[in-house]
């Protein structure tokens, strides 16, 4: 299945891209997502995504624990928000 992954703010700059489309197996887990990103972008480039203060949003809701992805999900990596 195809899943769209978005990067914001400093992560967008660190990774040098705002968006990537991944090919994942059905019900891919958090670990599957990170593996696939590492394969696509290389381990040096994805390092900032592993930082403790980076949040993951699935379909615009923060997911702190485990999750499984479904086709068409929108995944986003968010650095700490700094507010309005």
């Amino acid at each position: 299945m195809r899943v769209n992954v978005l990067f914001f703010a400093s992560l967008k700059e660190d990774l040098g891209c705002a968006e990537i489309e991944l090919q994942l197996s059905e019900l891919a887990s958090r670990a599957d997502l990170f593996d696939c990103l590492t394969n696509e972008l290389g381990s040096a480039r994805v390092a900032p995504l592993f930082a403790e203060n980076v949040s993951i949003a699935i379909n615009q809701s923060i997911e702190k624990g485990e999750f499984t992805l479904q086709s068409g999900d929108e995944v986003a990596f968010l650095p700490p928000i700094t507010g309005g």
């Binding site: 928000i81 700094t82 309005g84």
Partner: protein, 156 residues
């Protein structure tokens, strides 16, 4: 959410009409891009948001304020993109029958916008560009709203 500037005057007029004859108090807050941060000159601010999620985070803050106080009108306008020093960034207008509710809700909304609204800010400085971080003071202010309102008015 808009790239364009806003007009306090227009939003205030709309607020007075919308709030109606029981409105006795209108509190507003406007945030501007400061030209200096400590000793560094800032020429502008870049505001990034997550379309959809940012709107939801702001609607959620306003809903919490409306739930907590008796308000006749609430309006939040937030700009995005690159804003020069001196530009308006954010406007909060709150109308209520009574002064304490208008003040408290306006400050509450700003304190939560600063900590829970989905925005990222980058300062464009004379010595480069830097993504700014929330301060612990912002979180303390937000956490000051936790719990039930007490009978005593406490200031700082």
């Amino acid at each position: 959410m808009q790239k364009e500037d806003f007009s306090l005057s227009e939003e205030y007029e709309k607020c007075c009409v919308a709030a109606g004859p029981e409105c006795g108090a209108v509190a507003t807050f406007t945030g501007l891009v400061r030209q200096f941060e400590v000793s560094t000159s800032v020429s502008g601010l870049h505001l990034e948001h997550y379309p959809g999620m940012t709107e939801k985070s702001m609607e959620n803050i306003v809903a919490k304020a409306r739930n907590r106080w008796s308000l006749q009108h609430v309006r939040v306008v937030h700009r995005i993109g690159v804003l020069e020093a001196g530009s308006q960034i954010v406007l909060v207008i709150v109308a209520s029958s009574h002064r304490p509710d208008a003040f408290a809700a306006c400050e509450y909304i700003m304190d939560f916008l600063k900590t829970e609204a989905v925005f990222w800010k980058k300062e464009i400085r004379s010595d480069g560009e830097i993504w700014i971080k929330s301060t612990s003071h912002d979180y303390e202010r937000r956490d000051g709203w936790a719990g039930e309102p007490s009978a005593t008015v406490k200031r700082w």
